[in-house]
Amino acid sequence: MFDRRLVYHFDWVLLLTVLLLAAVGIVNLYSATTSWTHGGTPIYLKQTIWLGSGLTIAMLVCLFDYRHLQYLAIHAYIVGIGLLVIVAFHGRATMGATRWINLGFINIQPSEVIKVAIILLFARLLSKISVPQGFAIKDLWRPAFWLVVPTLLILKQPDLGTTVMVVLIALTMLVFAGLQRTTLIWLTILVMVTGVLGWFGLHEYQRARVRTFLHPEADPLGSGYHIIQSKIAVGSGGFFGKGFLEGTQSQLSFLPERHTDFAFSVFAEEWGFAGSLLLLLLYLFLIAWGLYIARRASDQFGLFLAIGVSAMFFWHIVVNLAMVIGLLPVVGVPLPFFSYGGTSMVTMMIGVGLLMNVSMRRFMF
């Protein structure tokens, strides 16, 4: 029953790109955490284990024809919402936010589950459209509802980063499906109103982040610290970088969160503009390849699945990089395959599995 054509069409390019990114990420994590003296499994080893687990999951996702997944989309979504509700009442709090759920053997973040579920659900919804003129505003009530329920639950945790990611991924897919001009205008107005209202709904620390982003130097030792230190790290790398393990900003702990959200600063400091350029080209290639897979998908569901996963990569990469180099306020978004973290690795690897699935089955009808 296992079709030989699957092996023949296996997307080695995608796999190699992802492996290359993850390998660079692990090397970088080694450097970012060398100054850590406390015991336990080193971070780079843990990340390697996560990479292995992630790859396994990606392969598992490949096994079943993605077309079956469209019937599972709604179930995944309901499970995701259920988990989000549970986490709202029984979650584990870290850093003042409740995002985790303890399943005994593993901690999972329901907001990550919902990311994947939204991609599946929207891909399924959009696979039905056949009109070239795009959605009118009245057609959007259903996707809007699906989006608003989990978004509010994630926002309550609070997790601004994931909320923004989920909304951006969904919007990217909707826009690709096509929106009427009036719909576009209405959406723009809606986003602006939400922005203004949202400002008052934000937690104080979130508002501080935005203010800090606008004037980081106003409070260099307080909330502006992250941005300033990160910019110093990146800029002091110069064109060729300070060399592996030689970044003073990271080795001397001036960089905060340097193994997670700010892992790229460590890389940029040690490898300079040259290294950053190569890394960014690699990421650009990954996204472009994702779009290429979407382009070649054999059906509309596969197309939107690939668009959704590519959007997920794109927005994570861009928001993380922009934040690290001071173009966006600090929101907790990890850099895919690069920042330390099992959750992020697993979510992104599920995405890779989905892409691969679509890519492998492009000639099957």
Binding site: I129, T248, A268, G272, L277, L284
Partner: protein
């Protein structure tokens, strides 16, 4: 089933792929441009900041140079003192903290608040000192409670230590925090806010020598500011050592001889111009400044009518009175007005124009020659001689001796005094000179004002055969290896051209003042060494201000402030002089009665020490 084109193959969908790809590329270009800006364009600035980020420049204070007396006895040095300070950025609840500290340290919250306000001018990285020079017990108390005192730290800072504060206060001076104005001045790169600098006297005049150079330590720190390693260290260069010409024992003897009286005394080596002693009384305690003077203490010092902060030896202006008569005598001798055998009849007064000028001895001295006139300080003799001489010749002679002009003394604040002349009066008050004023000037009164230092220089010149020497208080400056970097050689201001016979005539008179039973200064007589000198009693013509009049009504100080100053100048040994002394006792009433015994004590101690 309809057979229309599948949505996926619509051209508009294909175009969306291109648009999306383009958008992605554009965003990445934007990111790369930003990276280019940070890593290439802003590289130098940001690299600089990364270096500063991990390095801290710690300043190590240079020990200020010590000062010694002429025999190598320490006059001022440094000792480590504890001070309780606060780091401003670490303070959360200042009110609460001060409340707690106030109870712990037994000081008022207002005092802490005041220190806090004073300290706010300091640069941010500098801790604000709340209490300076606290004892060990308080330090321990703070350390025990350190958990409840966030931001409070104990610092050790060298402060000036004065083994004999009373005897040398006016010579050494004191330190104070650098003012903003001083910080802005040219040498400011050497200083930072909160530094202590010499404010007066030697500490100020030789600030550049005493200061030394601060050391620096470049250390690498982590984000908590913990020291990781020392990258570079430049040791501080201690301040230079200054050896003075003064003799501490002599200084102490002067202070003891004055007792409770106010005034000043200067003793000079007649051959070199070295200051052997310079004392001004009442004195103050420079240690008060070292540990941070309180505003009450400062107010008391300023309010004291006897001006303890003033170095009267160089800034006090007094009419020289009869100590000026030697100058008149020499000028008259040179002009052949007063030949040694000229005799003038003193009937107790002299009438000039409409005015009658009285001799201090109302009965008169009878027939008086130069020697007698000096010995018994006959005013009429000098009225007469002065009149014949004229004010301009008198002034010229006095100026030659260094009176009425600055001597270029190295301690700051030296005043010039006044030696009036026709020209001077026209310039100052635009009035002609009157003969009566010459009469008054001839006995060192009226407009004539001199400092004790000038009188000492004058006396030395009389003793050493007419050499007017620049008075010097610093003998040499040494670096830390005891290598002399600057040696102060005796400096001759001018050699006066009086014939030895004329000088001899005056010196004979001065010898008689002390050693003749009829002499006015016989209280300066010593058994072991022959002293020559001259008394002076200057009337205080100072008008009291209305405010002072009012304040002093019924006060015992009124008669005090109106009492005459007592003066005495002397040198010894009379035959082969070594030391010249000038003593001014403010409101001491009588030079012979009060100042002469002090001079005697100084000279006695000088020869006593030398004999050992």
């Amino acid at each position: 089933m309809n057979f229309k084109v599948k949505w996926i193959d619509l051209p508009i969908v294909r175009r969306r792929f291109y648009l999306y790809t383009l958008a992605v590329v554009l965003v990445f270009v934007l990111l790369l441009l930003r990276l280019w800006y940070l890593q290439v364009i802003s590289y130098e600035d940001l690299f600089d900041r990364s270096v500063r980020n991990r390095t801290r420049m710690l300043i190590t204070e240079a020990p200020r140079g010590p000062v010694y007396d002429r025999h190598g006895v320490l006059l001022v040095d440094n000792r480590p003192a504890f001070q309780i300070s606060v780091m401003r950025q670490d303070i959360v609840q200042r009110d609460e903290l001060f409340e707690r500290l106030s109870g712990l340290l037994d000081v008022s919250v207002e005092h802490l608040e005041m220190r806090w306000q004073q300290g706010r001018r300091l640069p941010v990285y500098r801790p604000v000192p709340l209490m300076v020079d606290v004892d060990r017990e308080l330090v321990e108390r703070v350390q025990e409670n350190s958990l409840d005192l966030p931001g409070v730290l104990i610092e050790v800072r060298p402060i000036r230590d004065y083994p004999e504060p009373d005897a040398v206060a006016h010579v050494i001076g004191y330190l104070g925090e650098i003012t903003e104005k001083e910080l802005r001045s040219a040498r400011s790169e050497e200083y930072r806010g909160g530094d202590l600098v010499g404010k007066v006297a030697l500490e100020r005049a030789y600030e550049d020598n005493l200061r030394g150079n601060k050391g620096q330590q470049l250390i690498e720190v982590d984000v908590q500011g913990r020291l990781l390693r020392m990258l570079q260290a430049e040791s501080p260069e201690p301040g230079k050592k200054i050896h003075l010409t003064v003799d501490l024992e002599l200084q102490k003897a002067v202070v003891a001889a004055f007792g409770e009286r106010a005034g000043a005394a200067v003793a000079l080596d007649v051959h070199s111009g070295e200051v052997l002693a310079m004392v001004s009384l009442p004195t103050y305690n420079p240690a008060q400044f070292a540990r941070g003077i309180s505003s009450d203490e400062w107010r008391d010092l300023l309010a004291n009518r006897r001006n303890p902060l003033q170095n009267k030896a160089i800034t006090g202006l007094y009419p020289p009175a009869s100590t000026f008569k030697m100058i008149v005598a020499l000028a008259a001798l040179r002009e052949d007005i007063a030949t040694p055998d000229r005799v003038i009849q003193c009937d107790g007064d002299l009438v000039v124009g409409d005015s009658r000028f009285r001799c201090w001895k109302h009965r008169g001295h009878g027939l008086t020659d130069l020697k007698k006139a000096l010995r018994e300080s006959c005013d009429v003799y000098f009225y007469q001689v002065g009149l014949e001489l004229g004010i301009d010749k008198l002034a010229a002679a006095a100026k030659e001796f260094g009176l009425g002009s600055s001597l270029g003394f190295s301690l700051p604040g030296e005043r010039a005094g006044t030696m009036p002349s026709r020209e001077w009066k026209r310039r100052q008050i635009n009035e002609p000179w009157y003969a009566g004023e010459t009469v008054i000037a001839a006995i060192g009164q009226g407009y004539v004002l001199t400092t004790p230092l000038q009188l000492a220089v004058m006396t030395a010149a009389l003793a050493n055969g007419g050499k007017v020497l620049k008075p010097q208080i610093v003998h040499r400056i040494e670096d830390w290896n005891n290598t002399t970097t600057q040696l102060f050689e005796p400096e001759l201001i001018r050699q006066l051209d009086y014939s030895p016979a004329h000088l001899e005539a005056v010196n004979e008179g001065m010898f008689a003042v002390v050693n003749d039973l009829r002499g006015t200064g016989h209280r300066a007589q010593l058994e072991e060494v022959m002293v020559a000198g001259k008394t002076g009693t200057s009337q205080v013509v100072r008008r009291l201000s209305d405010e002072e009049e009012e304040l002093l009504t019924g006060d015992e100080l009124i008669p005090y402030l109106r009492r005459s100053h007592g003066l005495f100048v002397a040198y010894a040994p009379a035959e082969n002089p070594e030391i010249a002394v000038a003593v001014v006792v403010e409101h001491g009433q009588s030079g012979g009665g009060v100042a002469a015994p002090i001079a005697r004590e100084i000279i006695s101690r000088y020869f006593h020490n030398r004999g050992e």
